[in-house]
Each structure stands twice: as structure tokens, then as C-alpha cells.
Symmetry: C2
């Protein structure tokens, strides 16, 4: 096990009706004037925005709203939000939604206190020292952004989708999490969320660091439960306990707990970011094609953890099988799970039959990441090209 | 699942040589004059105190020391510490050791800012609003106090051992955790610690709240790993990764992660506190006799979770066995594990052959806890008497 610092100071206010506590939580954390950041008008129509603003008024807080964050939040979203935050002199941000408004609000939180261009913090030109405080009302469990210091923003001008991690600056002060708010999600959103949160655990689980039995063991337990609960939700979308487990798992998957003491990987996320940067596909949908392709590529190059994964997470019975067979069956089980969720594991199918421009994606990957990415298997750009190709041919 | 708030803001600075970062951590959290709280002179002789004070000096901090906290820390320890903290006008406490100095320092942290008697906060006369900030250098993984808002103090005058939980006031700001510092622990300390941290999970795991599959599943994973690592350490006390897993598990067992969304139990801890309040036995040693006796008492009254525990944690193969047999085998496996650690599961043996005064303990329990305790099975005082008796007859 490697040395680590684990610091997850976000207060998670979890359960039925907790959205009504948003105002009192903001007041407790010292907010006076809040900018509410969200995406579409869904929360206007379903009454959530009103419940939240009622609770803000009840707590004596002023607020303004910032609407229109895109599903893959853009640098332009962030620039616009920074302008409003400054003009309105807000002292607290409140994101309502999933990873997109939260990640955008993090960009705004960084930019509002910085005289330069907020993109400096994403492209590596500057390191932030402060950010506006942020609260969250979570409605889509997936990104884990409610408990992380991470933010992913797409710069449409430069076709870059860049992820940053500033754990000591960007973690939300609190996150209000009511599983009931996720009952009405379109099924795809639930499925993408499940794929994404599982990937957050994979990126940490697939590590060469020895001596990580404890974290591996509880990571496997969380993965198994997510799969089990997801299959329940496919049939019964208003199963409270299943919604609650998936929501809580999404937080634990990405608040650092599953990565303690390990060198993490993150190659699959980088590979996927190029897909959703160039093509209009959901991050979770892209991961469902990249993860199995990445596993197939790694299977013969570094089998150890894939073998453990197949047995302990994908329930492969190892009796009478050799390592390759065990791993292949594990990957096959994972694909079948994605298919059971209604997702494709083939890149061409994902793009509606379009042939992906692999060279363009690899070129962009090279520009964003340098010559190699990942750690479990260190991938050259040729390897990345090969993984995209595997994804194109996948069942 | 029930509604919950999970807030674990402690920064865990984990790994080799991290004790040298104590001064910089204190400075980061705003300390200027620190009172170092510890028990015996062990940390003077083994060089740890010097390493820590060197790091404090390196960070430009003043400090005083308070030595002599007892293994079951006493109200007198706390009174003495409060006096020094006030006289010396310290603004930060630093506990070095295990649960005892940490719990004592928490009492001091409460008392130093309170004009009345700190015991008011333990006997239920008052609720605290503030406490001095606290840091920890952990040397004995067991109590989980480094990440909890709990404190247990024994009042020798009144023969009361009382546990309080003030999660929003008492959680340490940071905990420095170097597994190497635990290599030289006497074996019993390691064993007691293992029993204690597992009990912290049991007290949450044995719950009647439905729909808690996720938290149950990662709790089981942590329990299995603790057992596995403990047996390694019995043979090889300087196995770094095993020490690290046990140390991290001790924190996760008690920082709230394993109790989210559940009604907890805590009957076994209350039953044990009476033993270590009246007899000079370690808390972990007392738990090793109480936990199996409590399980035997509950087995026919509320079998569900004990059945799950037997299969998922105690590795009982359920094939061809009825519920009672499965549970009995699970309890037997747990006892065998305690025996493998070198511990007795018989109360008379624990007291060196002395006959325990069960009536005295039950009377005290009644005074401290009222008519009933626990939730998994609600125990009357007659039931408690019966559990002590089972512990006296145990193998």
C-alpha cells in the first residue's frame, strides 16, 4: 500500500424529503446570496426548483438562477456563469442536477475568484488557491461529483474535454441526496450513471500497487451491489432502497474511498472523453464501449487483477478454467450486464452506424495526455488506436 | 434504508513516516500552542514523542505535554488536562496513542471551553456547543476515535463508564496514521484492537432496518479483511500491508461509514463497559467474551442477520444445514477466531477465575441505560443478566 491522504469533508444529507433542508444547510455554511446552477427546465416543471427556492427563502437567503448547463458542460457555460456570479455578487453556488451542473459550478467557483481565464486551471497553466463554496442537490447519481474535487469541462473551440482534480479546493460543502428524486429519470440516465460509477471504481481497482486487499475487497462489494440494484431498477424504477444504494454507491465510488493507497489508472476515462468530445454521446454510453475493449486489450498483458475481478465481481466460477478463460468469461459477463441495461458495447453502433474517426481521436488524446496514458497497462498511442478498433468490432 | 447525515471531515494522513508531518498539519489547521496528550512513557523511549515535537518546532509551534492518561481514561485525567490546557492557554490538542488519550483529549477539548463540569456532557446534563480543535497521531488501531465524534470516559468515583457521541463537535481535524508505529505493539493490544474494531461494525451491522444491502455488503468485506489480516499479524507482526489494512479498517469501522441509513445496536458495548468499569480488563478483551454471548442470546430471538453474518463473514457453508445450525457454526467460528488471537471467550477466565458480580453490573447498567438496551434485540435487565451468565459458561 502507498501513502495517502484521504479527506472527504462533504456533509451528505441523505434521504426522503431532504431537498427541503437545502436552505438551512446553506445558511449553516454561511451563504447569504446564492447562484443556483442547473441544466434544463425539468426541475422547473417537476417542482424541485420551487421546493429548493422555498427552502432558501425560508432560511432568509437571496438567490439568482443560472440555467442552461449542457450535458457535457462547456467552457462557454462556465464563462457565462462566472459573469453572472460576479455581477450578482453571490457568495455561494448551489448546483441542482447531476455531474454536469456540478462540474460547471466548480468551474464557475474557481473562475469567480480568479482575475484570469478559468481555463488556465484546466489546461495546466495555473493552480487554484481558492474557490467559491459550493452545495449540491443531486438528482442524477453517476459522476460522483457531489463528493469529489473533480470537474470535467469541454472546450468546444479547442475540442478538448479536460478533467481536473483539486480535492482541497473543489469538494462541495454539502450534498443533499434524495433517492426519490431519481425515480423519474429516463432509464438511459440511470444506466449511464451505473456504468459511470462502476468505471470510477475500476479506474482505482485496476492498479498494480500490491497489498491493497482491504480497499479491493470493499470496492468489489460496492461493484456487486451496484449491479444487483441496477437490475432491480430496470424492472422497478421506484424501488427506494435500490435507488438509495445506487445513489450512495455513486458517491463512494468517487469520493476517494476506493482509491486509498493505490496508483490509479484512468485510461478508460481518457479514451472515452475523446469519444464524447467529438461525438454527441453520453459519457456513460461511451464508457460501456471503452471499458470492455480496454479490458480485452489488457487481458493478456496484465491478467492478475482482471482474473480477480472476473471471480470476485463478475461471479465467474474458476473451477476447471485457465486464467484466460476466466478473464474472458468475466469480460463477457460485464458486456452482458451492459446489454441487460440496454446499452451497446460496440462503438460503431453507439455512433448510429457512423465510422469513428479514430485518427482524430488519437491525435487529440496525444495532444491532451502526451505519449502514454494509464498505469495498469501503460498505453502508447498505438495501443489506444487498437482499443478503439477493438471497440468497433465488439459484440 | 433510513435517512442519514454522513459527515466525516477528518483528514487522514496515512503511511510511512507521516508522523513527521504532524507539525505542518497542526500549522495548516491554525494551531499556535498545542497540548500533547498521551499515556505512558513508551512514546518517550521509542523516539516517537521526539519526532513529533521536532516536527512541531519545525513548524514554529509552541507546545506543552500532558502525560498519564490511563488505559480506561478517567474523569480525573480529564479534569487534570483541562486545568493544564487553561493554565497554558493552549489553542489545540494533539493526542498521541490509541483510543484512551484521544478520548481523554476529547473530554479536555469539551471542558476547556466550558465554565461548568465537563462531566455534564457525559451524564446528559448539558449538550456542548464547541470544543478545542484536536489532532491525533495514532499508534493503536482499535477505538476508531481518530475519525469519530465519540469519547468514552470512566468516572472512578461513580463507577460509571459513559460513551458520548458529538459528531459535529468532537471529530479530530486530522489523524496521522503510520502503520509502522504499530509493529511493536504487544500482541494483546493488536488482538484487542481487532476485536474492538470488528465490534464497532457489528453494532451497526446487526440492525433490523431493511434495505441496507450496500452498507451490509461493504461492512462484511471489511470484517473479512480484518480477520484475514489479524491472522497474518499473529505470525508476522511487521507485515506493513496487514498493519495498514487493520489500521484503516479501524477507522472505517467507526467513522460512520458502516452505519449509514440504519438503526444501530450498541448493546454489546454497554454490556462490556460494565465489565471494564468494575474489573481491570481491556475493553477488547471484554468484548471477546460479550459478543459471542450476545449472539447466542439473540440467535433464536432474531436469527435473520446472524444467519447472513454466519455465511458472509464467518464463511459457513449453508448446504444441508438449517438456520440454527448455520448460526451456531458462525458463532463457533467467531469464538475460534478469538481463540486463534489468543483471547478467551469465557468471562470467569477473563477475570482470572474470579466470579463476576453480575448483580452489581446489571444494577449499574440499569442506572446508566434505563430499563432496556440495544435494538437488534431489545434487552431487558433480565436478558442482560442472562448474557453475562452465558459468558460465564462459554467455551
Amino acid at each position: 500500500m502507498e501513502n495517502f491522504t484521504y479527506w472527504s469533508p462533504t456533509e451528505f444529507i441523505f434521504g426522503r424529503d431532504t431537498q427541503k433542508e437545502t436552505g438551512s444547510a446553506l445558511a449553516r455554511y454561511g451563504a447569504r446570496k446564492v447562484m443556483i446552477v442547473y441544466g434544463s427546465d425539468r426541475i422547473e416543471h417537476n417542482g424541485l426548483l420551487k421546493e429548493v427556492t422555498d427552502s432558501l427563502r425560508g432560511a432568509g437567503l437571496e438567490y439568482v438562477t443560472f440555467k442552461g448547463v449542457k450535458p457535457n458542460p462547456t467552457a462557454q457555460n462556465v464563462y457565462d456563469g462566472i459573469r453572472v456570479a460576479r455581477d450578482e455578487k453571490v457568495d455561494f453556488l448551489l448546483a441542482i442536477g447531476g455531474g454536469s451542473p456540478i462540474d460547471a459550478a466548480k468551474g464557475m467557483a474557481l473562475g469567480a475568484l480568479y482575475p484570469g481565464d478559468f481555463w488556465d486551471f484546466y489546461c495546466g497553466k495555473a493552480t487554484p488557491e481558492a474557490a467559491l463554496p459550493l452545495g449540491v442537490v443531486l438528482t442524477i447519481p453517476a459522476a460522483g461529483s457531489e463528493g469529489s474535487g473533480n470537474s470535467v469541462i469541454t472546450n468546444e473551440e479547442t475540442h478538448q474535454k479536460i478533467s481536473v482534480r483539486y480535492p482541497f479546493i473543489l469538494r462541495p460543502r454539502f450534498a443533499v441526496m434524495n433517492p426519490e428524486l431519481t425515480y423519474s429519470l429516463p432509464w438511459e440516465q440511470t444506466a449511464y450513471g451505473v456504468v459511470d460509477m462502476m468505471a470510477h471504481i475500476y479506474e482505482r481497482y485496476f492498479s498494480n500497487t500490491p497489498g491493497t486487499e482491504l480497499v479491493d475487497s470493499y470496492s468489489e462489494a460496492i461493484l456487486r451491489d451496484i449491479m444487483d440494484r441496477a437490475l432491480t431498477l430496470r424492472l422497478q424504477p421506484d424501488d427506494y432502497d435500490a435507488r438509495a444504494d445506487v445513489m450512495w454507491a455513486g458517491t463512494l465510488a468517487h469520493n476517494g474511498l476506493c482509491g486509498v493507497g493505490k496508483t490509479e489508472d484512468w485510461a478508460s476515462h481518457r479514451l472515452e472523453h475523446e469519444i464524447s468530445a467529438f461525438y454527441d454521446v453520453a459519457h456513460g454510453a461511451g464508457l460501456a464501449v471503452i471499458i470492455p475493449a480496454w479490458m480485452e486489450f489488457c487481458a493478456r498483458r496484465n491478467p492478475d487483477k482482471l482474473w480477480k475481478f472476473a471471480i470476485n465481481v463478475m461471479s465467474v466460477n474458476p473451477a476447471g478454467k485457465d486464467t484466460d478463460e476466466i478473464i474472458d468469461e468475466g469480460i463477457s459477463n460485464l458486456k452482458n450486464f451492459y446489454h441487460d441495461l440496454g446499452l451497446t458495447t460496440n462503438l460503431r453502433t453507439l455512433l448510429g452506424g457512423e465510422e469513428p474517426d479514430i485518427e482524430k481521436m488519437v491525435k487529440s488524446l496525444h495532444r491532451n495526455m502526451g505519449d502514454t496514458l494509464g498505469n495498469y497497462v501503460k498505453l502508447s498511442m498505438d495501443d489506444c488506436r487498437e482499443i478503439y478498433r477493438i471497440a468497433c468490432e465488439a459484440e
